[in-house]
């Protein structure tokens, strides 16, 4: 009796499971069965976060132009996208087209999970490297291969409160390192709980960016240059802001509340996304803030980021995927994308449009783009930059000696770069 009941329960369970598997596998992507180019093809596209929600709107026009291709967009949350991509690489089952943050290119490139599109570039005039900023094109190069094409870009600029800088005698944004320090000192002198500038200690690219401005090459092949003068000086310069309390170490506040009203931190360095965030969260600041290209030392190279569009190595629809990439790279499409998501176009020609030319902020970003380089395109970049952040914390928080710490860090970096 009992055994029968047990068996019944178990078998009915199995049945339900089988039914579920059956019905869900039947709607498994039809792309696998489709083969010929004239047949209906479904292209799976993985995009990231909120902005991916706007992708279907762009894809509609593409589908009109190519009636035999259907675009299916899957949005991945930013926080967990990396996990999701790992499993896709492991099972070799992924999308056809994939959005990839520029810092992830070396990692997934080294895993050979993404297609080298170099041999196909001739067929698609939209994808010619000349169409893009050289810094952006660098983010698609890894290990001799061309992995994808720039989609949208971002670069860091200086945000500042015009009214408050004016009150300490700066009618324009600081233009050099010395001016930046001076402005911060004067802003600090406003008294109270005020500071001069907010420097994000969690931002991995910050110190590397300043070191470049000071002439450091960061790496020479596999040899790190982190304990040499240009880099150490830059760290020292940044550390000065914390030591002299021109920048808060633990404000524990978001950028916007600290930027509005009397501005606890009237300057900060960030990317284009902040324009929308300021407008949304602090609309009353309209006309009281501006952006400017970064202050310079030897140069004012900024950190270039953004996302590329790549083709998944194991796709069965190479040509359709390339067509989609080409479509997304057209200046018109890029402008439309900017309209939808406020991300900056990677195609140079798009920057000639009136929308970009007549907007003060966009003009600043355009100028800064001319002086922007991506972070080193090496696989262990993430490990290097994380190690740096904890080294830097020892310096600004625990008052460790800068040169000593950088010697130590350089040694660790050597180990990481040479795989221990």
């Amino acid at each position: 009796m009992k055994r029968k009941t047990m068996a019944l329960v178990l078998s009915s369970l199995m049945l339900v499971m089988a039914a579920l598997t059956g019905c869900s596998s039947s709607n498994k992507d039809s792309s696998e069965s489709a083969g010929g180019s004239d047949k209906q093809v479904t292209l799976n596209v993985w995009g990231m976060g909120e902005e991916a929600k706007s992708l279907p709107k762009i894809a509609e026009d593409f589908e009109k132009e190519n009636p035999n291709i259907k675009i299916k967009v899957q949005a991945l949350p930013w926080d967990t996208a990396h996990d999701k991509l790992l499993t896709a690489v492991a099972s070799k089952q992924g999308p056809d087209v994939l959005q990839l943050g520029t810092t992830w290119v070396p990692e997934f490139g080294s895993a050979k999970a993404l297609m080298d599109i170099a041999p196909m570039l001739d067929q698609y005039p939209e994808l010619k490297p000349d169409n893009f900023y050289p810094g952006s094109i660098n983010t698609t190069k890894f290990d001799g291969a061309t992995i994808g094409v720039p989609w949208y870009v971002d670069t860091r600029v200086l945000y500042y409160r015009t009214d408050i800088l004016q009150s300490v005698g700066y009618n324009e944004a600081p233009k050099t390192w010395d001016e930046l320090k001076d402005a911060a000192t004067k802003l600090k002198a406003r008294g109270g709980d005020k500071y001069g500038i907010s420097l994000d200690t969690k931002e991995q690219s910050l110190a590397f960016m300043f070191a470049r401005q000071n002439g450091s090459k960061l790496l020479d092949g596999n040899k790190p240059l982190f304990n040499e003068a240009p880099f150490v000086e830059a760290v020292d310069y940044l550390n000065g802001f914390f030591k002299e309390e021109l920048a808060p170490i633990d404000l524990g506040m978001d950028i916007i509340p600290a930027f509005r009203d009397d501005a606890i931190t009237p300057m900060f360095i960030s990317g284009p996304w902040m324009v929308k965030i300021i407008n949304d969260q602090a609309p009353e600041l309209e006309g009281k803030w501006a952006t400017a290209v970064l202050p310079k030392k030897e140069n004012n190279i900024s950190a270039l980021g953004g996302s590329n569009l790549t083709v998944f190595q194991y796709t069965k629809h190479k040509d359709e995927a390339m067509k989609f990439l080409a479509y997304m790279s057209k200046p018109e499409t890029q402008l439309k994308w900017m309209e939808l998501t406020n991300s900056l176009p990677a195609a140079k020609e798009a920057w000639n449009s009136d929308v970009l030319k007549n907007n003060k902020n966009y003009k600043v970003f355009g100028d800064q783009m001319e002086h922007s380089e991506p972070m080193p395109m090496i696989k262990p970049y993430e490990a290097l930059s994380q190690k740096f952040l904890s080294t830097f914390e020892q310096i600004y928080r625990a008052n460790a000696n800068v040169q000593d710490e950088m010697n130590k860090y350089n040694k660790e970096a050597e180990d990481i770069l040479n795989n221990k």
Binding site: D29, G49, K53, Q74, A75, I256
Partner: protein, 287 residues
């Protein structure tokens, strides 16, 4: 809170003055504790009624200056709500089957003496001790081999049973007197009937506890649905919510609305179920 453990717990038969005073005392301690527990929760609900610009303003305002439902409207516009809800409910439904299996296993471990019982039980416990991050990729590869990726079954199966549940059931079923089982066996009941008709009703409070936990886990299931699904048709509410977050933050008010929205059903379910934990029931035949 420490003082409470020195407090006694069952009322004396007469309600004298001292007893009443003590009731008041305990009530006041709980009220203070309860208010502290609730602060973040109120914050969340109040924030969800604020405009994004007000949320990021200093000094913090407690009550929204101009309450708005705009965040909730945006939430529904942004989410493929019906689909996500359906998937979430399917997962919740299957986790209840898992609950039944856990209870059965807990019973097996608690009330039978069989070869290898202790070692098997230790193995079950051991599965609880490895951080989930380590086994995630192996589990994914196993599901992939079984061709279960991108299916509902692949989302449900790995989390169907769990050591925590088995352990909890075993722990509480151990306290059921053996004489009760023997008496029922003498009446000629099968072992399965014994489990369903005698044991399950006796463990009602624990079933309710586990039921709530199961519901919450299913309701909040996040990482697996995302990893297994290659199609937004299989996304759950939590995955949908996490999509609201941009790469560089922002959308706080919207996220608060989303979180508030996720929590309300859980609280309702809890209010329904907790009656069963607390109802004073008498176990017949138990001394």
């Amino acid at each position: 809170m420490k003082s409470s453990s020195t407090a006694a717990m069952k009322p004396m038969k007469s309600t004298n003055r001292q007893e009443k005073l003590f009731q008041w005392f305990v009530g006041i301690i709980l009220t203070i504790g309860g208010i502290l527990m609730l602060i973040p929760f109120f914050w969340m609900v109040l924030s969800s009624l604020k405009h994004e610009s007000e949320l990021m303003k200093l000094p913090l305002t407690i009550f929204p200056s101009s309450p708005t439902l705009e965040n909730f409207t945006k939430l529904f516009e942004n989410m493929n709500f019906a689909v996500y809800l359906k998937n979430t409910l399917i997962i919740v439904f299957f986790s209840f089957i898992g609950l039944f299996l856990n209870a059965a296993a807990g019973f097996g471990f608690a009330k039978y003496d069989f070869k290898g019982r202790d070692s098997l039980f230790y193995i079950v416990l051991a599965t609880m001790m490895i951080p989930g991050q380590v086994t995630m990729i192996p589990v994914y590869l196993i599901l992939n081999m079984m061709n279960l990726t991108n299916t509902m079954i692949g989302i449900v199966l790995p989390g169907l049973v769990g050591a925590f549940g088995i352990f909890l059931f075993r722990q509480f079923m151990s306290t059921i007197p053996n004489e009760l089982l023997e008496a029922t066996r003498l009446d000629g009941a099968s072992e399965f009937r014994l489990f369903v008709q005698i044991i399950l009703p006796l463990t009602k409070p624990i079933l309710a506890v586990q039921g709530i936990l199961t519901f919450i886990a299913g309701w909040n299931s996040f990482l697996w649905p995302l990893i297994i699904a290659n199609d937004e048709k299989l996304y759950t509410l939590s995955v949908g919510l996490s999509l609201l977050k941009g790469q560089y933050g922002g959308n706080y008010a919207l996220q608060m609305a989303g979180s508030a929205f996720m929590i309300i059903p859980v609280i309702i379910i809890f209010i329904i179920f907790q009656k069963h934990i607390i109802e004073n029931y008498t176990i017949s035949g138990m001394k």
